[in-house]
Symmetry: C2
Subunit: 353 residues, 2 copies
DNA sequence: CTGAAAGCGCTTACAG
DNA sequence: CTGAAAGCGCTTACAG
């Protein structure tokens, strides 16, 4: 049950060399003769040697991870941020530290300079890794991203993927599945009916996935599905919602994708009181919880931004620490209704727990 | 950003005492004056002191945790076991070892002697803690449990609670919420209809909770709710299901509680093909996945036994390691339908991942 | 290219 | 009741 593990001292002793040399052989750092290195590695394999992570952490110098967060929706950003902070405080004991830079509440293309500056700074400080959450287009930051790539600093992407050689992992919600779930939920009560979808911009990756998933599941259920876009602008949300409610013949069901449910929900509280429509929203904030509690919305698809934040840190940590790499980390969407909404705490709101 | 963590040396220095004394105060071991102890604890809180598990691991002698698993349903037991093993392998690096004893597939009262023997053995070996999953009644093991209590060995209860002074934590699904969810799901399509519930024995704690939760949510929705019990016996499951399907006027909805859905689901595959009834089942095994995939069952309430297993180990670890105690660990139930069933892997089945 | 030594933050005998 | 010191298995300057 409790077998004695071999240590670098055992290795050093049985080869009549010093632990320093063993260390260099094991990590391939510093100058070391190929012959000694070979001997050590062979002996290590032979003796089933494994580095002890706890001992490593104790002696290692600290590692700092740089984080850039850029998102136009403050509530969503806050959740992501909380998740990231939470995980950082969990790995602080391993001497991992964070340098988190929060951009103005705009899309990445509008903050390109600030973002590039931060990335270059991270590179210059030789940080151990980088986490990027850039909503919108990262094109304008291409130069900085390339510099990071050349410096070979591992990068984890959150919500929006950035294809580079140094991209270790992409963490996001499973948007396709979320869309399918929304359609299945609406199909329970709206068979053969007309359905409306309110979405940000079908050009945005996650919205596109939501839509595609919905359509796949929808094709056997509904008479028609109409898509209304609002470009994540609160005024357009209002405008499009009005259009949906004024429509004749009336829609029986409505699916609101993405965190922009935040803007739609307060409006629904009035609109849907008179004119009953089956509604599925997205994510969980105080704004989206209220209509669930009042049974004005049948369900919301929770994509857990808090967990997305945590997982991004965890993925980078695993990579740096153990060279474990998970290309894609997908958060399974959760179905939240009136009966289980109370189990979900929204960390960003003040009345939390 | 990179804040230096306070160590026991910082504590010792700022109180002008030795680290040995700080250690004793922190752990309440050995002889120490109440006054010093108080001062240390206060300072520790003030300076946000936390023990560094890596450092602890390095110096500590190994700790063994004893586990007794007793459950009549093999599939459920396997999931719990997997979760426990998984978590144990994660904490092996901290020199935590396990001694897991799996009982025959019966209720605890039928294995009382074996269970008592295991518990007494754990006590005699002076294990660091114990995890007990005893389905059915623990009454016949009262003596062994008392011996454990007197030895002051911390105990975590899984699925079934055992009220004792040494009971650190109780880990289980949120059965009440699961029941409410089931009722809300059925209410979407079965308003003002007659509903049947198939359950184990209303005397068993988790089944009672499922039922109570269902009833609370049901009262505004349904015309009537009839309860059928099967005592977790496969033959009675068949018998009661037949009764439900033969009933006139027909039931529009059916809620099957607990892991006994395993026995019911294969039968549903035939019964519900002809006579369409809205059905909500419980938990996720290959048997309960199939009817979801075939759209014969509308949803299953997943209570994540794997996670329950993991959390039980985690709870005990936290208690032993950091004296953190969480009395109740509730796993939030998940709604699984056709559109998201593929996201859930069932670890116990061979075709996993 | 290699070695000797200090140190990470705890726990564990042992001495007083 | 309290303290001094060795040691866990690594990493990191520093010396040669």
């Amino acid at each position: 049950m409790a077998e004695k593990k071999t240590t670098i001292y055992d290795l050093a002793e049985s080869l009549h060399i010093s632990v320093g040399t063993v260390y260099r052989a094991l990590h391939g750092t510093g100058r070391i003769s190929p012959a000694t290195k070979e001997r050590v590695l062979q002996k290590a394999a032979e003796m089933n040697f494994e580095l002890n992570p706890s001992a490593q952490m104790l002696s290692r110098s600290p590692i700092t991870i740089g984080v850039v967060l850029c998102c136009p929706i403050p509530e969503f950003l806050d959740e992501i941020y909380s998740g990231i902070s939470h995980e950082f405080s969990a790995i602080a004991q391993y001497k991992y530290y964070s340098d988190i830079r929060i951009m103005p509440h705009k899309n990445a293309e509008d903050c390109a300079e600030l973002i590039s500056e931060a990335i270059i700074d991270f590179k210059n400080r030789n940080y151990g890794g980088v986490i990027l959450f850039l909503s919108g287009s990262h094109e304008p930051c291409a130069d900085a991203l390339s510099a990071l790539e050349e410096a070979n600093i591992p990068m984890v992407c959150l919500v929006n993927d950035i294809p580079r050689k140094n991209r270790v992992s992409f963490v996001s919600a499973d948007g396709f599945c979320a869309g399918r779930i929304a359609a299945e939920l609406l199909s329970l009560t709206c068979t053969k009916q007309r359905i409306a979808i309110l979405t940000g911009a079908s050009a945005i990756h996650i919205h596109k996935l939501n839509l595609a998933g919905f359509m796949e599941e929808a094709k056997n259920h509904f008479e028609a599905v109409d898509v209304f876009e609002h470009q994540d602008r609160p005024d357009l949300v209002r405008h499009q919602l009005a259009a949906i409610y004024d429509h004749a013949p009336a829609y029986q069901g409505l699916y609101i994708t993405s965190a922009s449910s935040i803007y739609a929900c307060p409006l629904l509280m009035n609109l849907n009181r008179e004119q009953k429509m089956q509604i599925v929203t997205t994510d969980l904030f105080s704004q989206t919880k209220q209509p669930l509690e009042d049974r004005i919305v049948m369900a919301t698809i929770f994509q857990n931004p808090f967990l997305q934040g945590r997982k991004s840190v965890r993925a980078l940590f695993r990579f740096i620490q153990n060279h474990e790499q998970q290309n894609l980390v997908m958060i399974p969407p959760q179905i939240v209704m009136h009966s289980n909404v109370e189990l979900y705490h929204v960390s960003a709101q003040p009345e939390k727990d």
